[in-house]
């Protein structure tokens, strides 16, 4: 029997891939303060997936195309004078999710699948899904390697980037598109509501542990992989929902890192105080 014939094995590979992908892309999401936008994307991709399911076409394709429309709409809306990126994002979030729910509920006998779309079904992942996620992961990492320094400059200092003659609008679009394809890869596994956990949690956790950009990518990827694989394992062990287990573990990792960094800060201050007392200053 092929190793990939096991549902649990496939789920673990999928969880590891989306964990690594979410962790890496999440570093950019967190650095650019885009978690809210990412959450909007996960929700707005939802109707695309539902439409694709209704039409019987590929879920990734449906979700991806629809999400791309949302990215373009948000960029266009927020570039308009006096328009707020957050407002445009909020509209995309609620509007997209509502459209998905309406579409699902309009179908007879379809409503039981709503759970699969909202919280995902990683144990139902096929070998084809695995391949698709793998391709997305390789593509995203390749783009990050090739355009890394330009994306970094556009993120840190947009005016400085334009001053160098870099096409900042194009770079912004590339970044949002990277987030979008990652969302499309993660949503079938974790669902529209939980996907944001993998796209924000591991990177935010890594950020608590390190200041160095070069460290953040491997650290966030490792945390994503760890939570993903452990989540699937926990779910088979206790027979609980896999997507929710992954999201819970991500939350747990963040909580521990937060307590750890808070304790370190306090220890640092105490050490400084002891030093001050010892030197009599």
């Amino acid at each position: 029997m092929n190793w990939f014939d096991s549902t649990v094995h496939r789920a673990m590979i999928e969880a590891a891939t989306v964990g690594a992908l979410g962790g890496v892309v999440g570093v950019l999401v967190v650095a650019r303060r885009l978690p809210f936008f990412t959450m909007a994307l996960t929700h707005a991709t939802f109707p695309g997936i539902v439409i694709a399911a209704l039409l019987g076409v590929d879920l990734y394709l449906g979700g991806g195309l629809f999400g791309l429309l949302v990215v373009l709409a948000v960029v266009a809306l927020s570039r308009g004078r006096g328009q707020d990126f957050t407002a445009a994002t909020g509209i995309a979030l609620s509007g997209g999710f509502a459209l998905g729910v309406v579409l699902v509920s309009a179908q007879d006998g379809f409503s039981k699948d709503l759970t699969a779309y909202t919280v995902g079904d990683i144990l139902a992942v096929s070998t084809g899904d695995l391949a698709a996620t793998g391709v997305v992961a390789v593509g995203v990492v390749l783009v990050l390697i090739l355009l890394g320094k330009e994306l970094l400059l556009a993120a840190f200092d947009p005016t400085g980037a334009s001053a160098l003659g870099l096409p900042t609008a194009v770079l912004d679009f590339v970044l949002l598109a990277l987030i979008e394809v990652t969302v499309v890869a993660v949503v079938p596994a974790l669902g529209a509501v939980l996907a944001v956990a993998l796209l924000v949690g591991p990177a935010a956790t890594a950020r608590l542990l390190s200041d160095r950009l070069a460290m953040l990518f491997p650290l966030a990827a490792a945390i994503g992989v760890g939570c993903g694989v452990a989540g699937v394992w926990v779910s088979t062990l206790w027979n609980v929902a896999a997507g929710a287990s992954i999201a819970l573990l991500v939350g747990l990792a963040f909580g521990l890192a937060f307590l750890g960094s808070a304790a370190r800060t306090r220890a640092g201050r105490a050490a400084a105080r002891r030093l001050a007392t010892a030197t009599g200053s």
């Binding site: 570093v27 650095a31 303060r33 004078r81 090739l146 355009l147 320094k149 330009e150 970094l152 400059l153 993120a155 840190f156 200092d157 005016t159 400085g160 334009s162 001053a163 160098l164 003659g165 870099l166 950020r207 390190s210 200041d211 160095r212 950009l213 953040l216």
Partner: protein, 297 residues
Amino acid sequence: MTGPTENGAAVAGAAVGAAAGAAVGAADGPAAGTAAGTVADVAGPPGRTAALVLDRASVAYGDVPVLEELHGTVYEGEAVALIGPNGAGKSTLIKALLGLVPVVRGRIEVLGTSPDRARRDVAYVPQADTLDPDFPISVEQVVMMGRYRKIGWLRRPSAADREHAAAALEQVGLAERARHRFGTLSGGQRQRVLLARAIAAQPRLLLLDEPFNGVDAVSQHTILEAMDALKGRGTSVVVSTHDLAIAHLACDEVCLLNRHQFGFGPTDATLTPERLRATYGGHALELRGDRVIVTQT
């Protein structure tokens, strides 16, 4: 002769009587036309190349004109101070010199060509406090950004790029902070890192947007020294500031701005009380002994 900055007010060390006597005509109000007061219209010594030519240039965001009828010339190796109150359009002029805000009338020439085309030889130093202090980026990574244009797309920094970046950081006295996170440095140090980034780009024209705002004395001194070193190598400098003392100390020319040009020319001759009063609006200026104090900046 320059006095210290008191309570954020800008202090000019120019002797009022002497400066007023040397004034080229009365304060140039916008209605009076700016060309008449443009001391720089008098051609410089032969052989000097113009780094910057403003030829009755107007600059606008969309339909809203921000700056009108700018006129003057800055030569290679010279520094010009952009002086004017908040909202005067100093940042806008700097962005126009970068080709980021369009010239709607007249002409702006940078390094003998259009601002767009000159960009490869122009370095821009933003105000440090406009950048996210939480961004996970190290000091050396910020400085390396100055080399991006020379490195080009899809390529990684070479050993030579690293050397240039390290030397630039050394020049602003922050070599030992290379591996610290940018946001952990003080405001003045962050400003110096951004200056190092510009130095690493080896520009022929350096644009500094209010680099002295809220920086410590050491940083101010370091920035002034670096400006001098660059000028010595033929780099021209445009620096916006509220500090008239710094304009006197470090700049050959000043451009008085408040939506219009209120004077453009050699520092001492142009920074007259009349022109400053016109630029800042009469009530904002106090004269105390031989000092001009701009109370509202």
